[in-house]
Symmetry: C2
Subunit: 182 residues, 2 copies
């Protein structure tokens, strides 16, 4: 188990250095990920924003955004739990880097404030949670998928998804919370 | 000028402690911001994601997302510059906080990696750039607006927008770049 977990971190770090590939729209059906058999949902990049967050620690510095399809967004906004069948959540992960161009601007606008702006430098991976209470009965109603440069991760990786999401069981296994309104 | 800039930082910090107000959909036309006369565009929260970033430095720790309406997103994706009239970019800012619940999960899944997850804790402000090359000829074709809890900032604040965006003149005054594809 520890080797798998270490590999996960290694994959996350290495994926950040993988070659940048432009994903044309429509190429979204590709290869299905193992265990749950999920393919990259078409048009996921156009879905609405659930929230954003960033991850720090050791060599992992990531910016993250979660997007939801219409069913997912509606459930986040009206509090419907469990999420209805058909809800899909996409988690987009990027490596981050300090932005010199932004920092110059911030230093001029806010002199002495020491502001540092971090922006996405390269894509890491994109993950999906797909709700289908019949198909995925044995894993709390959710199927999981992880893709790097359009290619699904391996079986060992996909065996870790459901166990990792167990602590969020009372929140229908979903970690992300809808971002506060402005 | 320095007093205005200091006030900007102070506003940004104080806004994070302002009372949290739920914004019902449809309440988007409210009071117009000064100088450019822009009201909060209806449905902006449903627009597509341009990018995410985070800001650190001193007492300012923010998570940020930029959303774009259809005209803006299309221009970001096909490289059309200057942005066409009608393009609107929304910049959503949140204070961030370390997430204990996420960190517990990460410590279990990635033991020893020291991962720290930062999520939005409260809304700070939302800003808009509205392209109208006729109406805003004197400010590079863009109008600017800044709202906190649905209320526009004052005139002094709005006088700082265009000067601050000058360094991005060669990029049609827009700082944010479209996030890398996965």
């Amino acid at each position: 188990m520890r080797r798998i977990i270490f590999a996960l971190v290694a994959v996350a770090v290495l994926a950040g250095t993988a070659e940048y590939i432009v994903r044309a729209s429509g190429q979204a059906d590709g290869e299905a990920a193992p265990i749950y058999g999920i393919k990259i949902p078409e048009g996921y990049r156009d879905w609405r924003l659930i929230s954003v967050n960033h991850l720090a620690g050791g060599s992992v510095k990531q910016l993250r955004a979660q997007l939801g399809n219409d069913i997912a967004i509606k459930a986040f906004r009206d509090g419907t739990r469990p999420f209805p069948d058909g809800a899909i959540i996409a988690a987009l992960h990027w490596n981050e880097a300090s932005s010199d161009e932004n920092n110059k601007v911030l230093a001029t606008g806010f002199p002495g404030a020491g502001l540092d702006s971090f922006v996405p430098s390269s894509a890491v991976n994109v993950q999906f949670m797909v709700k289908d209470s019949e198909k995925y009965t044995s894993t709390g109603g959710w199927g999981y998928a992880d893709f790097t440069n359009g290619k699904p991760g391996n079986e060992a990786l996909h065996n870790t998804c459901y166990p990792c999401h167990q602590p969020a069981k009372e929140r229908d296994y979903v970690f992300t919370r809808y971002a506060p309104a402005h």
